[in-house]
């Protein structure tokens, strides 16, 4: 069957549906991520995290007394009895993210008198738009997720793809748009016309500009290895390319292994997360660049940060952890897995993203924060040389293949 070429109307409708699905996914994931952050960090720190909203859900609230009549409540009670934090209380506080959103929506929206009002209002939007536009080029599944049934009105027989666009310069698009986000931070900080945001914004500008270099260089490794900038092609070929001989294969895997850590480190810096959260280091700069922001404007920055966490996780998963395939670091090309497990599946990709998001939270709960000059040292003296070496090795591998 030859693939159907959609008419313009069909194309627009299907794109709209895809946008709704992708945005819906991200907009659901971000609040859930804030909830996960509360809970993950809470469990690391031997406490319960958010419990107040819907505290009585599944009988968890009564679990404390060890006399609960419900099953989960009973298990919770048992865990308290054994001196453990009750795992089953994870459901408590689940609607907390709705409460968070409502709180942020209804909070007073303050614009400082001395602020540059237009820039002050626009920059959070700039940060958020940049962070969300990136998802246009991220592919959640390489092919069609499903086809509309033939009798479906207007769209009968058309595929519903796991990606919005199949850009041939997808990676460039992602990197380019993502770096626009830093303008949102710097301009917002500058427009606040206040001292702490100024310091935070300057830190952020220096940091993100510095880390953009190793970040991009580390992503050049997959670009060189695959000779493509197309997200789907890159992720598929990085995962499944069969190496010409064992030596090339081993080096390729090692390169991806190291590249993963380098890229993830840069990603942490790029998203302003601990241990690189200098721009909003609350113990130093109160709240850094968003000190003067409140209400929904603040939450735009917040959403942008979490959305870029998802972006970074998605890129790391796609290019280094085997993307839509089961095995990471290009091992799929070595070990031939048959059947369902061998195929590309959206679930593998999502699981990898979720795991990396967990790593973000895990790291936040574990390590202290770098100092400004040390951060610059790490970026310029370690990561950039590493990435350059990796780049050269990648070029040699490409030559060998």
């Amino acid at each position: 069957m030859t693939p159907m070429t959609p008419t313009l109307t069909q194309y627009l409708v299907i794109s709209l549906l895809q946008i709704i699905v992708v945005m819906g996914f991200v907009m659901t994931l971000v609040p859930l991520l804030t909830f996960a952050e509360r809970k993950v960090i809470a469990y690391v720190q031997v406490r319960l995290g958010a419990t107040r909203v819907a505290g009585g859900l599944w009988g968890a609230q009564r679990g404390r007394t060890h006399k609960s009549r419900t099953f989960t409540g009973g298990l919770n009670g048992l865990m308290w009895y054994l001196g453990r934090v009750p795992v089953f209380s994870i459901l408590r506080g689940l609607p907390m993210f709705i409460a968070d959103a409502l709180k942020l929506l209804t909070k007073e929206d303050i614009v400082p008198v001395e602020a540059d009002k237009a820039v002050f209002v626009l920059s959070p939007a700039l940060a958020m738009v940049a962070a969300f536009t990136v998802f246009a080029a991220i592919s959640f599944a390489p092919g069609a997720l499903f086809h509309f049934p033939a009798n479906f009105p207007l769209l009968g027989g058309l595929p519903f793809n796991g990606f919005l666009t199949d850009l041939n310069v997808g990676l460039l698009f992602i990197l380019g748009v993502a770096s626009v986000g830093v303008y949102g931070i710097v301009l917002g900080a500058w427009a606040s016309n206040s001292k702490y945001p100024l310091l935070g914004g300057l830190r952020s500008a220096a940091q993100i500009v510095s880390y953009e270099v190793p970040l991009t260089l580390s992503l050049l490794v997959p670009v060189v290895l695959t000779g493509s900038l197309n997200f789907n092609e890159m992720s598929t070929r990085m995962a499944t390319d069969v190496p010409v001989n064992a030596v090339v294969g081993i080096f390729r895997t090692l390169l991806m292994f190291v590249g993963f850590f380098v890229y993830t480190t840069c990603g942490f810096a790029e998203t302003n997360r601990t241990p690189f959260d200098l721009a909003e280091a609350e113990n130093e700069l109160v709240a850094g660049f968003h000190t003067e922001y409140s209400g929904m404007k603040f939450s735009f920055y917040f959403l942008a940060e979490y959305a870029s966490m998802i972006t970074v996780s998605a890129l790391a998963a796609a290019f280094f952890l085997g993307g839509h395939y089961l095995l990471p670091f290009g091992l799929q090309g070595f070990l031939h897995i048959g059947g369902w497990w061998g195929g590309p599946h959206i679930i593998f990709f999502l699981l990898k993203i979720f795991f990396l998001l967990f790593v973000f939270l895990w790291v936040r709960a574990t390590v202290p924060r770098y100092r400004y000059d040390q951060l610059m040292n790490v970026g310029w003296k370690f990561l950039i040389p590493y990435t350059l070496v990796m780049f050269v090795i990648a070029a040699l591998l490409r030559y060998a293949a």
Binding site: Q45, R369, R371
Partner: protein
Amino acid sequence: MFKTEEMEINLGPQHPSTHGVLRVKLHLDGETIVRCTPMIGYLHRGVEKICENKTFFQGQVWTDRTDYVASVSNNLGWAEGVEKLFGITVPRRAHYIRTMLTELNRITSHLLWLGTHALDIGAMTVFLYAFREREEILSMFEAFCGARLTTTAFRIGGLREDIPPGFEKQVRAFQARFLDCLDEYEILLTENRIWKKRTVGVALLNAEDAIALGVTGPVLRAAGSTYDIRKAFPYAAYAEMDFQVATKNEGDTYARYLVRLEEMRQAHRIINQCLDGLPEGPVMAKLPKVLKSEVNEIYHAIEAPKGELGYYFIGEKGGVNPYRMHIRAPSFINLQALSKMVEGRLLADVIAAIGTLDVVLGEVDR
């Protein structure tokens, strides 16, 4: 064409990591500190003056409110100072219990320091781990004297009550697991590269400067001095205790961190010795109903968790309250070193320096 200008920035008095109401006026060149001026007085209540209008028995209540995270130490200093003024001999059992409680208090104070200091540097988990143990000690204080923070634990001449039943078991249970807890904090911090980067060589203060500025306590001992009043001028039951004074030579934030951790280990040892060697006998000396002083002046210093805590009393003839009372507050004097430590360094080091000095503003301002 270009001109540069120093930026003046107020760190505090409402700032997440100035530990209360400390205000630090910073002159910044970019992120480098040009000048640093601590500004204090936001919590001044006039404790010394108030104590001059309270009897010797009542004054102790006010010492709870100076260094509110180490109130037992303050109580001990007050009680022993007054006893020295009147020449009262305290029973040996009371000395042992006082020593034990004071060392428990040293642990709570250092745990609070560890948690907040790590939090300032960005390691947020240690804070909650430290508070988990601190909570346990606070409930011991509650069992002993009914209060968790403002303890007023002792009386002039001894203790109001002997330790309650079950108290020893509670302490022993805590003692049994506390060393493991310390190891747990160390796993998170001691060999952590970022922690070391943030603390090694940061906020340096050498012994010479420290002595010149009057700095005492762990900050002084981390600079190589072995001055510890518990050894130098033993009080309470410290003369009978076997413990080491923790010292380091580096004089940086990391050394102070290690010194305080070691002090917690030593405190653990002392508590064990107090429990094992707890003598029998009364806990209160015979006292007259009303204490009336002679013309007399004394200075009594103890090793509080933050440093040398001294009480200076002048009595007047027939007076029921001190004619003049002064507290040599270690936090106040240690805070002087802040400018010395941070000038020429980066903004983030100020936070580390405030944390490592372990100041409590209730004691700085009194």
